[in-house]
Every structure is written in structure tokens, then in C-alpha cells.
Symmetry: C2
Subunit: 417 residues, 2 copies
Amino acid sequence: MSLIVMKFGGSSVGSTERMQRVAKRIIKTKEAGNRVVVVVSAMGDTTDDLIDQSKQLNPNPPAREMDMLLTTGEQISVALLSMTIHQLGSQAVSYTGWQAGIVTEAVHAKARISDIKPTRIFNALDEGNVVIVAGFQGMTEEGEITTLGRGGSDTTAVALAAAINADVCEIFTDVDGVYSTDPRVVKCARKLNSISYDEMLELAHLGAAVLHPRAVEYAKHNNVKLVVRSSFNENEGTTVKEEAVMEQGVVVSGIAFDKNVARISILGVEDVPGVLAKVFGALANNGIDVDIIVQSGVLEGKADFSFTLSSSDADRAIEVIEGIRNEVPFRETTSETNLVKVSIVGAGMVSNPGVAATMFDAISKLGVSIKMVSTSEIKCSCVIAAEPLNDVVRALHTAYGLDTAEQVFVGGPSERR
Amino acid sequence: MSLIVMKFGGSSVGSTERMQRVAKRIIKTKEAGNRVVVVVSAMGDTTDDLIDQSKQLNPNPPAREMDMLLTTGEQISVALLSMTIHQLGSQAVSYTGWQAGIVTEAVHAKARISDIKPTRIFNALDEGNVVIVAGFQGMTEEGEITTLGRGGSDTTAVALAAAINADVCEIFTDVDGVYSTDPRVVKCARKLNSISYDEMLELAHLGAAVLHPRAVEYAKHNNVKLVVRSSFNENEGTTVKEEAVMEQGVVVSGIAFDKNVARISILGVEDVPGVLAKVFGALANNGIDVDIIVQSGVLEGKADFSFTLSSSDADRAIEVIEGIRNEVPFRETTSETNLVKVSIVGAGMVSNPGVAATMFDAISKLGVSIKMVSTSEIKCSCVIAAEPLNDVVRALHTAYGLDTAEQVFVGGPSERR
């Protein structure tokens, strides 16, 4: 007998038929002799509808009241799913986040889970119930209702799995698992049987549609075994765990990419201590995330440096930099948008020299110039122009031996919460 | 400075405009120097929509899960109302039933409030907030979410008013107050300025559209001053309290009526001790409410008796009676449907002899026969055929001097919860 956490997203329970299919799958898992805890998101468009309603009354509502509003979405889901399980002849009990003992920090809209008190869950399991917990929500020590922000339901599932020491946390989605790259770009993308937490985090941009990075971090930290699998079939899915089984000859597990990248360069900066801290401190204070940073050598006491960030933040970032010109004198800024970042990811890279060289070679053979490079132990990223992205991804996928004979069909990514 | 509880029903907050109007009224009350606690029901059709959704998945869902589902309706209302108040520049905080400290018995769908712990409400008031509490809901000592059943939001308002020792509990509705009779029947019906709890309870059938009887009972028991008033204007409304000011010369305060009454007679019952207890015990065990009971004299050891009940229960009641024929032998049953009960209600009746005689006289002058009579200290009820009901009500309204010069316009009764 295993203790299993099963997590279903909003699109999995978005209609009567889908709700019934999910209920049957849960009952089947229970009847196979397992103890089952289910985490579920708000159904289909519920959250968007609630947000629309609120905007009509207050375009900028207090976060506390928004949490009061939005948590009803998951409460509706859990109640209806429990009723459906009862209708199919099995036994279930639904809990809100606070009833399930999920305690969060005193922050609204993006609280972090600080504790889980699973007594009620264990009692309900002992009474023979499937336990259904509302994802995305919790309660502060003071009894305020909070939400966990994006990826919240995945995080709820992983945190619950850690708290009750579950054997596995299954994340159900509309694809078969985690792929070597986006199957919409590379038709012969390979479904990965297993992958490490770190690789999964690096593949986050591919994985965002199937697993939220925050949940992966939580799983890594608490050593929770994750399985990403389809809610439409019984295929095995992808296992995410600490020590992924290295597949024979596979050094690179996947190709990730990030669209809408911009580069900003600050030229002729006076090279005094603390310059970088001032620039990136100012950007961080304005909520602007910076990705790759490259500094060139210093010439005549002046330095050039460049960094990448999301295209949508580029204009604001330049304003911020101009705003600190008094503190950080420089000659000029230049910027370039319509870039992408493509990355090869693999836990085997660290022990295989020459992996990055294969990447540079494959890209240059396409006549594409590499604008920036960044490497870590398990990945190598290149910033290139957006236009040849698909060709580059396909070339890399082939170069690292990831192509399969089969072609995969995958629909659009589901909404995540 | 007064401490005021204001209760708004679902139709009062059923649209963006209505929500804004309610918010303005609340802010105005607060800015007049009062401390304000608001109780609100689910918006418009929310509850019905949730019930419809659940029926598709389980036609007979567990009451516990239904409570989980339906309580989201009020949680949505309180969050949106709070946001609206913030948008209008004032300060508010919303609470679910459990956050407001409303503790109920461990019964689903129709729990009774067992305790209210108002610490959070007082703290929030002290911080300058309007406090908005979800009606119709509470939590058991074990942390299960419960609902209070029909009239639940009125009951929440009255119970909160009692717990925080409010100066008044204002129930907002779409009519100006409690009327001497249904203005749809008698155009010159009189709005009552004040009325006692007992009279209000007897007028329940008129009052059901403006105030739930259970809330009146709770108010009486806890001596909470109620005001029933319009959410559309600033008129004074009707005050319901222990000692209503008797209006000059008014002995009868109002004319109530109850449609869809049936009479069942059991003829030739053996007159042995405990017969009545057996019959009405069996009916009660089957959830059938009986109203007026009349027993004729005993002839040759056999008795006849008759009782009234809701028309919709008549067939089932006869089945129940036939089912206990072995224990309670009788000759036959007869029944009559399409009857009504009309009642005069007034705290002054007890000290004014001849009040009932005026009623019988007025009815007989219309050529209508009285089938059954029942009296108490503050009312006299007659069961008559349904067809002449409106004429009888108008005649009684005139006979007791209740007619006013003005004509009242009143829309249909609002949905109550």
C-alpha cells in the first residue's frame, strides 16, 4: 500500500465529463490499494471570471480581499469533485487549504507555505476517505486566508506530499510527461523517463506548462519524488527525482529555450568598486529580473557590460539606468530586442568535456551568430536572434542524439496556477 | 456613536450597480459616526447556479460537501463588497463565517448557531474598518464548514447583533417595511411603524419576504432591536422589538394569510388514550408539519378529528395515517384541498373582547363559510375556501380600520436565504 498525492489542474476538471474522468481515475488508484490525497485547482475559467468580476468593482483591489475571492474557486472544485466520487460509490472528504492544515506566511497573493499540520488528513485517510485538498491556498497563523501565487496548486501538492511523507506526488497534465524539447518545434522530441530536479529546473521554460519551477524547488528541497503524467492515458510519465537514471550515451537531456529576450549594454562605465552592485541593485529594486550578465575587460579605466532580461522590461530598465547616471557615470546604453536564449541541459555535462563545443559548432553551421554565452555545471546557454530559433533547436536536438523515430502530438500548454 | 449591524440580501448585491449602491449606503452610515458590521448573502443567482452544477455530478450530494460548495457564494459576496468599499475610499475587511467566530452545531445544511466569538470583529472595528461577514455560514468546533439553512443570513445578522450587543440590526429589503397585509392584495395596506416580536412571528407569512421567522425568534430570545427597511430609500422602516408602541385605536396590527392549506379529517376513531399522540407522532416522524387541530366531541366511544397542513403534504399524510391503522383503528379519512387560512394579528386583542366576533361577522357578510377556527392571545385564524381570499382580506383590513389613503406599490418578494 502506497500513500499517493495526485494533482489535477483546472483544465482537467473543467467540465462534467472531465470531472467524472478524474474521479474515476482517483477511485481506480484507491481501489488498487493505495491511500490517496488529491490536490485540485479551480475549474476552467473560474479564476479569470472572478478576476473580471472584481475589476468591474475595483480595478486595483486589496490583495487580502482578492485572496478571499479567488480561494472560492478551488473550494468549489474540491466540493464538486468529492460529490462526484460519492456519486461513483466511493468515499471522499474535501478540505480548504486551512482545513488541510496548510499554514503560510502573512503575505497575500504570493504567500509561501511555512508549515503543514496534517492531522485531519491522516484521520480522514484512516476512515477510508479519499482526501481532496484545495490547491493554491492556505491560512496564516492569524487566520487570514492566503494564496500561493502562480504554480500554487503544484506547490500545494508537493508540500503536502512532503508533509505526509507520500511515496510519490503525481502531477497530471495534458501531455505524457517532460520532453527533450518542445514537441511543437521538434516533432520527434523524446519523452524523458526520468530527470533530476536540477535538470527539471533548467528545463523550466519547457516544463512551465507541465510543472511549476517553484514546485520543483520545493520537491528538491524535501526530496519528494514527482511523476509528471497524462490524465488522458496510463502511460508512465516522467519521474523527477534526485538521482535520475542516466540513459545510455545521453549527456544532454533536453533543449530549452526562452523567447522574448532583450539585451542591454552599458558602455564606457567608470570602473570603480561597487558599480555592478549599484546598477543591478537599482534594477532589482524596480522589480526587474536580469538573467545573463557579461562584463568585458577594462580599457583606460572604463568597462562595458551587457545583460539580458525579458523584452517587456527593456524600456523600463533603460529608464532606471539613466536615473542613476549621477551615481554610475557611463558613456551610453545600447539595447537589442527580438532575441532568444537557447540552452542545452544535462546532468552529464559536468563530466563530459566538449559538450559546449558541439553546441557552438551546430549553431555556427547554420550561419547563426552567438551574441552571449553563459554556462553552469548542467547547462550551456546561447543568446541568438529570434528568427532562426526553430532551426537551431532542431539542429541541437539532432546533434545530441535526442531524436526519436516517433512523432509526438501535443496540444497547447494548459493554464497553470 | 452607535454599533449597527446592516444585512443585505442577495438581490441587493446582484449587480455591479447594486453592489455600489449598497457600498455607498454602508459608507454613509459609517461616516455618520457609527461602527458598522455588515452581513451579506450570496449574489443573485449564485446559489442556484452552484446547486445546478452539483446536481449534474451528484443528484443527491452529501450535505457536508454541499455546505463546502454553497458557502463559496457568500465568500464571493463579502470579498467583492469589501473591494467596492475600498474603491469608494473607505476601509473594510471581509470575513467568512468561521473567521467571524460563528460556531454552529455539528449539523450540515441547517445548523444552529451555538456560539459567536467576536474578538476579530471588535479588533477590526477598532482599526476603523467596516466589517463584512458572510451570512448563512459557520464552523463547528471540529472545523467543519456548515450552513444555517433557510433564513440563514437574517439569522447571522441577528445573532451577530446579539453577540456584539449592537444598538440595532437593520434588515434591508426591497420594500419599505412590514405591512398590515400583502399590498398586492390590499392596495391601501398600511406600513407598520413598529410591531412586537410575537406579532411579527404571527405575520411570518407576510413577513417571510422581508424577515425570516427564525431570525425573529432569535431576536426575541436575545432582545435584539430589528429594523426592516428599504435599500432603495431612506424611509424609516418597521421596528420590531419587545414592546411595540400601540398605535391609537389599533387593536389588530395586520392580516396574514397562508395559501395552499389542506384539511384532513379522521372519522370514527376509537377514543382510547394516546390516539392523538400516535397520529401526530407518526406525521412528525415523516417530516409533516401540522397546523390547526380540532377534535369534536366523543359519540359512542368514537371521535372525529380534523387538522390542517400544507396541500403538498396531504397525500403523504393520508398514507402515513393508513399505515398506522392497526395501532389506531378508525372508520375513514376525508380530505379537502384548495383551502386558505386567514388570520388577524394584534398584541391588543387579548385585552379587547369581541375582536374575533368582528372577524366572523365580516367573513359571513361575504357569504363565505368558515371551516375551522383557531385562536391564540394575539391572533385569530379562520380556514376558508381559497377562492374568496382576496375579498375576505380586503373586508377584514377595512373592518379593523387598517386602510390608509395612500396606495402602495410593491414588487414581488425577493429571494431569501
